[in-house]
Symmetry: C2
């Protein structure tokens, strides 16, 4: 009895899934314990699907996902609807589901997981974050006996490519974006990537898994993109022995009562393993109580890597199905809430263009003190009218740091706030 | 009904497992679906075990592993016997097994896996390679639909620490080893680490999993340690933009008919992600056909990280047991054989002290050509009596490269072969 798969979507990833299932059929059968077979492929327009057996194609996705002979539904359409309705219908009909849909999981993962739990079927989604990197299942399974304290991820290849170019070639943002577009690393409309929307969806998924809380959605994620990152920021980071990365950060609060989830540019020490993640690669760094520091690195996008992750999930859910079991998620919720960005403890790097006059530093220090932000170090560059004061704060609530910067902007001794960026710190 | 665990061994890892099971009991119960409980602990001497409930202790390990109320046996004794007999007895009595025993798995994994398959129980061993890094299950499960071509691993923290010191401080091997010993990174008798025995056992386990061949044992692994690595080698690597790492390398042959498994020092480009693995950290780099390049990074040793990996496995096998299923391994063997080191395709870096006389290079090139080894690049350093010729070969069978070096050693124009090391190459 073959395991029958319904495929929703036949674009770059979908067609690659079909290709791999075909190419690896013997090996897959051996690893699952029974052959796997594509039973149908739902597409929007039949005449557009290429390279697949035409007799498998249908435009009636709803009929396909509820067809009695289908065991597993693989969704690679993306977007919220009709993906959500189709997945819920599939689950309702007792099918296990594999999806790569980060937007849907970030927005409404709770509903999907609850439906899967109730129906006793699997909902796997390894491909939704960091492409081919086996990350979600290790977080869920291998660290099941551990306690995650912080997750820091480079989860968007486009922005990493742009920042890497800016760092290695001293190029500006616009120039680097254009290069990324020319090479196919960035889309014509790069908003989802450069404004951090893509990373924010992934951050929500990571936070949910790492902290076992179903409450986090994309809307809970504080989000800042990289469009404001300047060549001066990158140079300032270099002077401190840092690189600039766009990170998705999920962190447990000190009192263990809530989590903070955010996406923004970060200055990161060059010695940190995340700092050496180049080009469009992704990597996720996990700090766990027992396991210590872990990092998972690999290709974050692309049809073949994503299809590889989908295939890994297909094998797992097929095996579970054959064994008559399923892995429920979200049944034991820690209920940890998400706290505001203002309450998140961060550190700031601030570069100020000031007049080199006696009393400037004391004025600046007074403004920091007013908001109870203590200064970790100060460095002065240049002299006279070109003087720049570079300060790094100790960790403090983000709201206090933000108000400090507002006050600095308004002060007449500060000609310009040349660069503001958060600095991520690591204990040894 | 609690899931009952028998623990074999109560040293650094074992006592930490007891501690974590105790500390995380609620969370573990939630994740498994039933409470987990230590039913007994086998030790060699009862008066030596500390910090655990004395009523759990026994010196009769064989009676413990076959006790009817035990579900899962966790073996953290290490070594071949009595571990093997105890694990086989446990499997024979229908228990699932979690082990951290790399030596045993490398020597006789085939017997253990066959017994587990036959009995329909789990045999999990995440902790045996690279400590807390979730690596073996991702290789087995997430890449189940993929095809691994090469695995390169820094799997021994002691040697990585020593090589990192030699690189960063220009120190010699002996001095760096002594520092590692003083800091507890190396044992008083460092043979198992510095001669590559530890890494070779892990290489065998990795090769078996990556290529789905049960045939590989530790004895099949070509092994060279780092005792011969000199400050001159490190300097020579630096001059080429490389660092020296002790790597475990498992590679599929070009014709896909066999695999090569080896442990030896390697010159690696500084841009490669493995090059930035510092101190005693471990990392395993995987090249797969669909997933592309992946890296798994983390702490490779230590009681708590290892216990974390054991705990992750315990949760998995307990869940499987509750669901009445198990994951068989080795049932579908590719049967790939291991080829000799001589047939393995490698590249050499060779530094020769030569007299700076006309004709030296042509003589040296002739020796390379005699063994059908082509030269990728040559660089001459110094002049007169201090001249050094540094050559890097194109890939060739290791036996041919080795014979080339032998001939160079015997030639009267070569005063000394100052450095010989393999260079690992990466396609883009």
């Amino acid at each position: 009895m073959a395991m029958k798969v319904a495929l929703l979507g036949c674009g770059v990833v979908g067609s690659q899934v079909v290709h791999l299932v075909d190419e690896q059929s013997e090996e897959l059968a051996a690893r699952i314990g029974t052959p796997i077979e594509i039973g149908g492929i739902a597409v929007r327009r039949i005449d557009r699907a290429r390279g697949v057996d035409p007799s498998l194609l249908t435009t009636d996705a709803m009929a396909l996902v509820t067809r009695p002979d289908i065991d597993v539904v693989v969704e690679v359409i993306g977007g919220i609807e009709p993906a959500r309705s189709l997945i819920l219908a599939a689950i309702g009909a007792g099918k296990s589901v594999v999806t790569a849909n980060k937007a849907l999981l970030a927005e409404d993962g709770q509903t999907l997981h609850a439906a899967a739990r109730e129906a006793g079927v699997d909902l796997y989604y390894e491909a939704s974050v960091a492409g081919a990197i086996p990350l979600l299942r290790p977080l869920r399974d291998s660290l099941a006996g551990d306690r995650v304290n912080r997750v820091l991820g480079i989860v968007n290849g486009t922005t990493n490519y742009i920042l890497d170019r800016m760092d290695s070639q001293g190029a500006g943002f616009t120039e680097s974006l254009e290069e990324a577009q020319a090479l196919g690393y960035a889309e014509a409309d790069p908003t989802a990537d450069v404004e951090g929307f893509d990373a924010a969806a992934k951050a929500a998924i990571l936070a949910r898994l790492a902290f076992h809380t179903q409450r986090v959605t994309a809307a809970d994620v504080h989000r800042e993109g990289i469009t404001g990152v300047t060549a001066a920021d990158i140079a300032s980071a270099k002077a401190m022995g840092c690189v600039v990365k766009l990170l998705a950060i999920c962190q447990r609060s000190e009192d263990d009562k809530s989590v903070g989830v955010r996406v923004h540019p970060v200055m990161l020490p060059v010695e940190h393993p995340l700092a050496s993640v180049k080009e469009a690669y992704n990597a996720v760094f996990v700090e766990a109580a027992s396991a210590g520091r872990l990092m998972f690195y690999g290709a974050g996008a692309g049809g073949t890597p994503t299809a590889s992750a989908v295939l890994g999930d297909m094998v797992a859910v097929a095996r579970n199905r054959l064994a008559g079991t399923s892995v429920a998620e979200g049944g034991h919720d820690t209920g940890l809430a998400v706290h505001d960005m203002g309450e998140t403890i961060t550190s700031y790097h601030v570069a100020l263009d000031v007049a080199d006059r006696p009393g400037v530093l004391s004025k600046v220090a007074e403004i920091f003190a007013r908001h109870q932000v203590s200064i970790k170090n100060v460095r002065q560059e240049g002299r006279g009218e070109d003087a720049q004061l570079v300060l790094v704060s100790h960790p403090a609530p983000d709201a206090a740091l933000s108000r400090t910067v507002d006050d600095l902007r308004g002060h007449d001794m500060v000609r310009e706030v040349a660069s503001v960026m958060r600095v991520e710190t690591f204990s040894d």
